[in-house]
């Protein structure tokens, strides 16, 4: 079995990559992907902790995996909405670059 620490470091890396992506990208799609990476790091964590759960309660131990499933669904929903928004925005400003959408400022 993979050690817990390594899994945690992995998910931490995923999280950081996601954050880095969000901070550096101007493309809406890329931002979307970055956010999803963060989300996935969280999902990974849930699964990891569930697997390593010291809890004697089965319900508690398994709940992490359940949560992971729910979150996958949530992420999908989010992406769907995000794509709807980017489509509508693209139709109006002709770009998916968030730097082009800076009318609301100051």
């Amino acid at each position: 079995m993979i050690p817990l620490d390594e899994l945690l470091v992995f998910s931490g890396l995923l999280f950081s990559i996601g954050i880095f992506g969000v901070l550096t990208r101007r493309n809406f799609i890329m931002l979307l992907i970055s956010v999803e990476i963060i989300m996935n790091s969280a999902i990974l964590n849930f699964v990891t902790f569930s697997a390593y759960s010291p809890s004697s309660s089965v319900a508690q131990a398994v709940s992490g995996q359940g949560i992971a499933v729910v979150l996958i669904g949530l992420a999908a929903t989010e992406v769907a909405l995000g794509l709807a928004i980017v489509l509508a925005l693209n139709r109006i400003i002709g770009s998916v670059d968030v730097a082009k959408a800076m009318e609301l400022r100051l």
């Binding site: 969000v22 550096t24 800076m102 400022r105 100051l106």
Partner: protein, 690 residues
């Protein structure tokens, strides 16, 4: 004699003119001639009452009526501010003076003022003045006294400014109010000292003195108990009024009491135009001549002397304070006289003489306090002075009324045109100069003798006595300069100047006052009049009337002779320069030019005071105003700008780029995590778990 019970009605004396004031003030325009007759009626009744009261006082053995039952403001701790009436010999005398002159002036005004605008206002203000002045005479305590005193000042202000369209009148009115205000402020502090300190410093032995401050039971300092009220502890007691010589040393010659006395002097000096608060009185001549006669000669300005007199009786001055009072009075008598010598305005000359005579009275109060007798001599001079000074003013008014100018050098030769006026004015001038048998001689001689006596005890008073003697010379000189310039000669110096006698309405008061001037000097010989003048040293040619009858004193004789000689010398000198229509003018290059200018400019006091007011006070005010606007308010504005700038700059963080927002979130997250994970243990260790 009706008895003391009748004194209950003493309040009617101020009330009558007060009613007239209210009626005239509200409905004055509906009266013919501005309601002068109503004023005459009210004042006439007040005069009758005050004559009656004065008579009752003079024949009474009990002397004093006191009622202070009206609690004006009261505090539960026993501090009561009361109002009441106090009918005392001094008050009765003052009442008499005020109402006699008041009545005559109101009558005189009927014609003199008849052509002026705003008569209802004039009479209303005059009535208000008489109300307040009567209240001054009857005041039962210092608070009431101050109340009336300030009202008197108000009326003076309003009446000086009667011709308000003249900028000079408006300015003079303001000046009068302000200068007396300075004195009043000092007066207030003096009263405060009495109120708070007297009980503590009064020598217990003086509780035997019926009219001085008492030690309060239990050492408690309360209003009624701290010498604040003038009345004896047991009102209407049979204790005799001060007999001559009964005042012993005040016994509480502490510095504080000296100071209190000097502060009271400050108030009196403001009102009575004593050096250095004298500057307002000459300017006050901008008011109608009747007002000058009543307020600025006979009554209001004498109130300062009255204040000193009652204070000297009820509380007493320490010797230091008394010496200063003597000195100020004596100095003013000469100081004012010098300015009178050069003045060109007929009213101003008389005004300077008023200052000078008031100086004599103030000197008299100081002297009487030094030799521990009552202030009767000063009051006596106040009494006689009121008449002859009113006479002089009203005569001058008659002249002004006729010729329409106040410049002495424009007059001349009016003797034939206005014989009655000339004659009454001559009587006034003789009385003022101190020529027997006119009243001024008797009263002024008393004062001089008293001061001489004081200088025997306190050598430092001697120079002041000499100053006063020189003043006698000057008095004769300047008043006869006035008389000669006005009346002597064969023709007037201004072509076309035609004088004429006024109608009987104006002549009658002149004649009445002339009569009073003649007889007032010997009144103490008759009946109980001397009872009204506690401690009077009515000294004539060496004889003094004392408790043990007429007593001869050679020193008094010397004083009388000296003053007589000096007075005649003054008159004679005046004749040499100005008699028979002569006009003396100083040679261009005379060494006297410089002093002459100094006198004409009134020793530059106006300039100095104006500089102080406009330059210093107003300058400071403008400086503070600048500070207020630009520094204090500027600080507020700086805060406003600070926030505004912060807001304006802070807005720029909101770049509109969503990635930046995310960066801030990331930053926030990092800071939060660091704070929670590392901050907590760190702070924990720092505070030792606390």
């Amino acid at each position: 004699m009706v008895g003391l019970d009748f004194f209950v009605y003493a309040f009617l004396v101020p009330l009558l003119p007060a009613l007239a004031f209210v009626v005239l003030g509200l409905t004055g325009k509906s009266f013919r001639n501005g309601g002068g007759l109503l004023a005459v009626g009210a004042e006439g009744l007040a005069l009758l009452l005050s004559v009656f009261f004065a008579y009752e006082e003079s024949v009474s053995t009990t002397g004093i009526y006191h009622d202070s039952s009206f609690v004006w403001m009261g505090l539960p701790d026993g501090t009561n501010f009361v109002m009441g009436t106090l009918m005392s010999p001094l008050g009765a005398l003052m009442l008499l003076v005020v109402n006699i002159v008041g009545f005559l002036v109101v009558v005189y005004s009927l014609e003199y003022m008849s052509h002026e605008e705003g008569l209802p206002r004039y009479y209303a203000e005059l009535m208000l003045f008489l109300t307040a002045m009567n209240l001054v005479c009857l005041a039962d305590n210092f608070l009431e006294f101050i109340l009336a005193w300030e009202l008197v000042g108000l009326c003076s202000y309003l009446l000086i400014g009667f011709f308000w369209k003249k900028p000079e009148a408006a300015s003079a009115a303001k000046k009068a109010f302000l200068v007396t205000r300075v004195g009043d402020v000092l007066f207030f502090v003096g009263v405060f000292i009495f109120f708070t300190s007297l009980a503590g410093v009064v020598n217990p032995s003086i509780t035997t003195l019926p009219y001085q401050g008492q030690v309060c039971p239990g050492g408690q300092v309360t209003w009624a108990c701290a010498g604040f009220t003038f009345a004896p502890p047991n009102a209407n007691s049979n204790a005799p009024f001060l007999a001559p010589g009964t005042i012993t040393s005040p016994g509480y010659g502490s510095n504080l009491m000296t100071l209190a006395g000097l502060l009271i002097l400050g108030g009196a000096a403001g009102k009575s135009a004593q050096f250095p608060l004298h500057t307002w009185l000459p300017d006050a001549m901008e008011g109608p001549t009747t007002v000058s006669a009543l307020i600025h000669a006979a009554t209001m300005v004498a109130a300062g002397v009255f204040l000193l007199a009652i204070t000297s009786i009820y509380i007493g001055f320490t010797s230091t304070a008394a010496l200063v009072i003597l000195g100020i009075g004596s100095f003013t008598s000469l100081f004012a006289g010098t300015m009178g010598v050069v003045a060109r305005d007929i009213k101003r000359v008389i005004a300077y003489s008023t200052m000078s005579q008031l100086g004599y009275m103030v000197m008299g109060v100081g002297a009487s306090s030094l030799v521990l007798v009552g202030p009767g001599d000063a009051m006596f001079h106040l009494f006689t002075h009121a008449f002859f000074k009113a006479l002089l003013f009203l005569s001058a008014g008659s002249v002004i009324h006729a010729v329409g100018t106040q410049d002495l050098f424009a007059m001349g030769g009016l003797l034939r045109k206005m014989p009655v006026t000339a004659f009454t004015m001559l009587i006034g001038a003789l009385a003022l100069s101190g020529i027997p048998p006119f009243s001024g001689f008797f009263s002024k001689d008393g004062l001089l003798a008293l001061t001489w006596a004081a200088s025997q005890h306190y050598a430092v008073a001697l120079p002041f006595f000499l100053l006063a003697l020189v003043g006698v010379f000057l008095t004769g000189f300047y008043i006869f300069r006035l008389w000669f310039l006005t009346f002597s000669g064969s023709h007037s110096r201004t072509p076309g100047l035609h004088g004429h006698e006024p109608s009987w309405i104006m002549r009658a008061p002149l004649v009445a006052l002339a009569g009073l001037t003649l007889v007032a000097g010997v009144l103490p010989l008759f009946g109980g009049f001397a009872n009204l003048l506690p401690g009077v040293q009515w000294g004539t040619l060496g004889y003094s009337y004392t408790s043990s009858g007429w007593v001869f004193s050679s020193s008094d004789l010397m004083v009388a002779i000296a003053s007589l000689v000096l007075a005649f010398a003054g008159v004679g000198t005046a004749y040499v320069f100005w008699g028979n229509g002569r006009v003396f003018s100083l040679p261009e290059n005379s060494w006297l030019r410089a002093p002459h200018t100094l006198l004409l400019r009134k020793y530059y006091f106006d300039e100095v005071y104006d500089g102080l007011a406009h330059g210093v006070i107003l300058g400071v005010a403008r400086g503070l105003d600048w500070f207020d606007r630009y520094v204090i308010d500027g600080t507020i504005h700086a805060f406003e700008r600070l926030f505004s700038q912060a807001s304006e700059r802070g807005r720029r963080i909101q770049s509109g780029l969503v990635s930046n927002y995310a960066s801030w979130i990331a930053l926030g997250l990092v800071v939060l995590l660091v704070a929670i994970i590392y901050g907590i243990p760190w702070l924990d260790s720092l505070w030792g778990g606390g």
